[in-house]
């Protein structure tokens, strides 16, 4: 690391100027990036990660400005560059990859044109040479059949393919620095794993420096050498991946690690520890440590009276922390489950029984269109949930898990099959035609905190209205019940008068939970309730759901794509793939071999925030079949790494019953799967 850094921030101060005057988002940030090095920046939303990324290419828009310090790239001060110098630098020396690939690609140009444009513009190559380069690059990002990909438009590619194209576009000019801002956040976990591996490999081959911004600690471990933890615009801890993850010294870093559910944690063993409070707005920056108001180790005086210096740790070179108490804190221990005996609760009566459930979406004909094959969203689902348990449904986007939730809730009706809710058949009963008692039985918590509450109504109205409709309460009964429900979800009663625009994401989701609880439901369906929230908030909502469910002895149907959360929360797990349940069983059984090959791939793809737990990943190759033309055999056959042969394509797999109610739909026997998978784990 004696090289001159390719990028250096020297006490950079960045502000936005708006109606409220100057808002200082980054009060003074310093870090350096050596050639070929990858630095991860992590932190919750609103910590200034993206502002840093944008400021490096001076892309802050009219409102943002670098008001102090220097940002030096390849020895030149960014702030002093002219517009044309900046243009020459952007794209050629520095390339950026953003979260949404569709926003980086031009929808009316073929992918090939967009790729070829880069070398033609920056290096003056002719068409033919540029085309050759583009093809080379496509091979590097592992897109098969490059010739045909070049002729396609962005919408003809999947999300993972689009992000590969964006990465190819970024790397085709051989930039010295690649800035990636949440590049895998919108992708499914198996696709994410493949993209992360690709980034790591490419950066080593091209010797490109990478600034990798993410809220997900696990993805940073996979790609980066060093990590910087940002809080409220400041770099509170910086060091090598191993240093920071093995010996985190800043309370915020520890908080982030403690609130993450991981594959080794279970709700009965190690509770999640949420970070209390939320990031203070940049306008009201406190004196001293920005994290003080949320910190468990805060000491009034040293922490709150003056600016906190960044101190290197004596025994670890390159590891530095912005905390006055860093040296006093005890060594951090990763919370691990004790393993072994888990007290099984006796299974209660069955509240929900799903039998052969199917849902077809007929595609509407246009005025002159002809009929098309229907989309098979659910393809014969059999599931059972008992009172007081959490049944998690996992799968990647498009597997039908949200459709299942809608059928249960009565927002959609099934095309075939049965759903029995507390003994009543509801598969074909829309919610409008369900009697009041049944409406009260099942309630739903939705995914998006910004759309779950009506922006025109206050929190109190949302809850009160549910009480009036479901429990026929009114007047002071209603008002006192609203207060009680707010208390159940740990919100102060004053919040009742607030409209959603004055609530944070976590508060909105709490109000939505209170609304769902208004009718005292026996079954709560939660469709990705935490996936749009920051990790610290996520932990508190998960704890809340857990607590409420235990207290009410309700059944929680928890739908998620996040296996770590599911591992933590679920009693039973159903893994879905293309409208079918490929594996079902107790969480302890599903998360241990034998797995269905799809479950195995999903688990191997989960980014784990632990440098010691980086196993080999199973990369799913092959196309995802369209939901209009499912394979006649196993739905997973086109991508399965353990495909046995023609039998997989032709015959639907048998449902193998293993001990403990564990079911796997696969042609390979349970013992054989366990043997293969244990062998792989030992490698």
């Amino acid at each position: 690391m004696t090289d001159t850094p390719i990028l250096a921030l020297e006490n950079a101060r960045i502000s936005y100027f708006g109606r409220a005057g100057e808002v200082n988002v980054i009060p003074g940030l310093s870090f350096a990036l050596a050639p070929g090095e990858a630095l991860g920046l992590v932190g919750e939303s609103g910590c200034g990660k993206s502002t840093v990324a944008l400021s490096i290419v001076r892309y802050l828009g009219r409102a943002g400005r670098i008001v102090g310090g220097r940002i030096v790239f390849e020895g030149r001060d960014i702030a002093a560059m002219t517009e044309s110098e900046l243009r020459a630098m952007r794209g050629r020396r520095v390339a950026m990859v953003y979260q949404d690939p569709m926003a980086s690609l031009n929808p009316v140009m073929t992918v090939g044109r967009q790729l070829m444009e880069v070398p033609m513009l920056h290096e003056g190559l002719d068409e033919r040479a540029a085309r050759a380069r583009a093809l080379e690059m496509l091979a590097e990002v592992r897109l098969q059949d490059g010739e045909s990909v070049l002729g396609r438009y962005p919408h003809q590619l999947s999300g993972g393919q689009q992000q590969r194209i964006v990465i190819a576009m970024a790397l085709i000019a051989e930039p010295a620095l690649l800035i990636m801002d949440e590049p895998t956040t919108g992708l499914d976990v198996t696709v994410e794993a493949a993209v992360l591996d690709l980034v790591r490999e490419l950066r080593q081959r091209h010797d490109t420096s990478v600034l990798f911004i993410s809220h997900n600690l696990g993805t940073v471990v996979r790609v980066c050498d060093r990590i910087g933890v940002m809080y409220a615009g400041e770099l509170v801890e910086e060091g090598s991946i191993r240093q920071v993850f093995k010996n985190p010294r800043h309370p915020y870093t520890r908080g982030l690690l403690d609130c993450l559910p991981s594959l080794g944690r279970d709700k009965r063993q190690a509770p999640l520890v949420p970070i209390p409070g939320q990031v203070a707005p940049a306008l009201a920056r406190p004196v001293g440590c920005g994290f003080a108001s949320r910190c468990a180790h805060v000491e009034p005086g040293p922490c709150t009276s003056h600016a906190i210096p960044v101190l290197p740790l004596a025994d670890e070179a390159g590891h530095q922390v912005q905390c006055v108490r860093a040296a006093e804190l005890l060594r951090w221990e990763r919370k691990r489950s004790a393993g072994g005996a888990v007290t099984e609760r006796p299974s209660g009566e069955i509240t929900l029984k799903i039998d052969g459930l199917e849902k077809l979406y007929r595609q509407r004909r246009g005025l002159f269109g002809s009929g098309r094959a229907p989309v098979r969203a659910l393809n014969g689902i059999d599931l059972v949930a008992t009172r007081g348990e959490t049944l998690a449904i996992v799968g990647e986007s498009g597997c039908g898990k949200s459709t299942l939730a809608k059928v249960l809730a009565g927002l959609e009706t099934a095309s075939a099959g049965h759903v029995q809710l507390e003994g009543t058949e509801v598969a074909s009963a829309r919610v409008e035609s369900r009697p009041l008692a049944l409406k009260r039985t099942i309630q739903m918590v939705f995914q998006n905190p910004d759309s779950t509450l009506n922006p025109s109504h206050s929190a109190g109205y949302a809850i009160g209205r549910a009480l009036r409709r479901l429990r026929r309460l009114s007047g002071s009964d209603e008002a006192s019940e609203v207060t009680r429900l707010l208390d159940v979800v740990k919100l102060p009663p004053e919040l009742a008068g607030r409209k959603p625009d004055r609530l944070s994401g976590g508060q909105k989701q709490r109000v939505a939970i209170a609304r769902a609880l208004a009718g005292n439901p026996d079954v709560i369906v939660a469709d990705e309730p935490v996936s749009a929230l920051d990790v610290s908030v996520q932990a508190s909502i998960i704890n809340l759901l857990n607590e409420i469910q235990a207290e009410r002895d309700a059944t929680l149907i928890f739908i998620s794509h996040d296996l770590s959360v599911v591992r933590y929360l679920a009693d039973h797990v159903a893994v879905m793939y293309l409208g079918a349940v490929v594996e079902f069983g107790r969480a302890t059984d599903v998360f241990a071999p034998p797995f269905h090959p799809y479950t195995e791939a999903l688990l191997s793809a989960v980014p784990v925030p632990d440098p010691d737990a980086q196993g080999a990943r199973i990369v799913l190759e092959g196309p995802l079949p369209s939901a209009t033309e499912l394979p006649t055999g196993c739905p997973f056959t086109t991508r399965c790494p353990r495909r046995v042969g023609a039998i997989c394509d032709e015959t639907p797999p048998p449902e193998q019953a293993l001990p403990g109610g564990h079911r796997i739909a696969c042609h390979i026997s349970g013992e054989e799967l366990a043997r293969l998978q244990n062998a792989r784990a030992r490698e």
Partner: protein, 270 residues
Amino acid sequence: MTAIRHSTTATVGVAIVLAWVVLAGLAPLLAPYAPNATDLAALANTTPSRAHWLGTDHLGRDILSRILWGARPVLVIAPLAVLGATALGSLLGLAAGYKRGWLDLAVTRACDIVLSFPVIILYMIILTHFGSSAWNIIGVLTLTKAPIIARIVRGLTLELREREYVAAAKMRGESSLYIMLVEILPNARGPLIVDMCLRTGYNIIIIGVLGFLGIGLPPPDPDWGGMVKDTYGMMSVWPHMALFPCAAISSLVIGFNLLAVGLREIGLRD
């Protein structure tokens, strides 16, 4: 209301509109002459003078007084017609967008038919048949403008009906009417209010056109469009007779347009 002060455009728009409202409201006090009073002495020279600031028309009537009095029907009819069209159009758009199916088809086709009809011909047929009165003008404007509002509201409803809070309302057993009026409509109000301002301006133009065609408010009471119609033949000699009422129409329309643009800016900013 405080938001309006942050947008210069909206502030100017509000100022123009409010100025006209005050002038119209105080017309009985401000107008120097009765609107229909003729000053035969002024006929010798109809151009602006100390006695008649904006001159007189070909019958010797004071143009300033007639413009002030003429603002009153315009400022009543145009907004009322917009309110009518918004109410009718919102209901149709909500029902079509929320219920979908045959109702959607019926409403959109009916709107297409009304919108594909040459409106001026429609105005002439209806107003000559039923007679030209303030209520009939309001009625005819409501009917012809409602389809446009219905289209806007239908588009917004199609998007808003998929929101999770609508699903939550269904799950607690709300009626369709409640969902449409209480859950969806309030969230469509931003674009609707902007459109109402724009449409008020357009309605003022149409009222002027109706007056110009002679199917506006019946004479002799002053009507801006009618004033232009009576005097445009004398444009080459006495341009002020037609130009001042035209300027009145333009300024009021511009006021409403600026207000609409400003409100849109505010909406985009928040």
